[in-house]
């Protein structure tokens, strides 16, 4: 019986894992943000008089992707989440380090998949924030290709002691909020 319990606890600890961060005081509305929050994970809970919506998303600040959280309250779920999506109600989430922890720190654990910038291949389905925005400002805006929202990206790799910068194109798979993107080109 004890062995079953131990095995069960071990299995639970490996399957339920979430990345936890400190909620910072950095207000997103005052930062150099490119585009809109993306790769949004939504958590709605009932509250007195309505709902509380917590949106965990990725946001590009100064050409770097960050985890962030926005919180909103409203009479309906949509109203609460619309408020949460407003950058005024968003704050960056930072890695937990000893120097950041204090008595009034807020810890936020992300329920969704951990998203990080990584190497991608043509044809892959990815989260938008798994690729960097383009280094050239004129190449950053979204555009339409085959009636789909797309954007360019850059990827920096090292190979055989050399640094390569590739650029490419990703396009949204569909118009559903939170949909993934397809790597259409990389060169």
């Amino acid at each position: 019986m004890k062995r079953i319990l131990v095995i069960g606890l071990l299995a639970a600890s490996t399957t339920v894992s979430a990345e936890c961060y400190m909620r910072t005081q950095v207000n997103l509305s005052r930062q150099a943000v490119f585009g809109q929050p993306t790769d949004v994970h939504r958590i709605v809970t009932p509250e007195t008089g309505g709902y509380r919506c917590s949106l965990q998303y990725r946001v590009n600040v100064n050409n770097e992707w960050h985890n962030a959280e926005g919180i909103g309250v409203g009479r309906t779920e949509d109203a609460a989440c619309k408020q949460a999506m407003d950058l005024k109600n968003g704050a960056l989430l930072a890695d937990i380090t000893p120097d950041r922890v204090s008595s009034n720190s807020q810890m936020v654990c992300l329920d969704g998949p951990e998203i990080k910038v990584r190497r991608v291949r043509i044809g892959e389905q990815i989260w938008e924030s798994e690729v960097d925005v383009h280094t050239i400002p004129a190449e950053r805006p979204y555009f339409k290709y085959k009636n789909t929202q797309c954007r360019m990206f850059v990827e920096r790799n090292t190979r055989e002691g050399n640094l390569y910068t590739h650029q490419g194109v990703i396009c949204r798979e569909n118009t559903t909020p939170g949909s993934k993107w397809l790597v259409v080109a990389k060169y």
Binding site: I122, A138, F143, M152, H166, Q167, A185, Y187
Partner: protein
């Protein structure tokens, strides 16, 4: 007169002993006499030629033809939808040069205000 006859005999003997045509390597005996043509492998445009292509909004009127021709070069070299990290150095730069022009046409021609300052 004797000299002419002698020369004629020599020439006729030489023609009789001439070796039959040697078929070039790779030709099938059965196709002899049918004027079979050796298939010509298409050649992609050189990298230098690709690099010399300077596109502007004036080329948007023939955008689809440009894209078709550029994609054809990738097809000839077997570089369609190939990840650049899987390529050797020469193919990688060729692939990048062609694709950069294809996407400049696709993006620039559909978004004329994109690159305006």
């Amino acid at each position: 007169m004797k000299l002419i006859v002698a020369l004629s005999v020599v020439i006729a003997t030489g023609c009789a002993q001439q070796r039959p045509w040697q078929l070039p390597q790779g030709y099938n005996q059965a196709t002899v006499g049918t004027f079979a043509k050796k298939p010509v492998q298409p050649q992609a445009v050189s990298y230098e030629r690709i690099e010399s292509i300077q596109l502007s909004d004036r080329d948007c009127a023939k955008r689809e033809q440009w894209i078709t021709d550029l994609k054809r070069q990738l097809e000839i070299k077997g570089l369609v939808d190939v990840n650049p990290e899987d390529l050797g150095e020469n193919d990688r730069i060729y692939n990048a040069a062609v694709n950069a022009r294809i996407w400049a046409l696709r993006i620039g021609c559909n978004n004329p205000d994109r690159y305006k300052k």
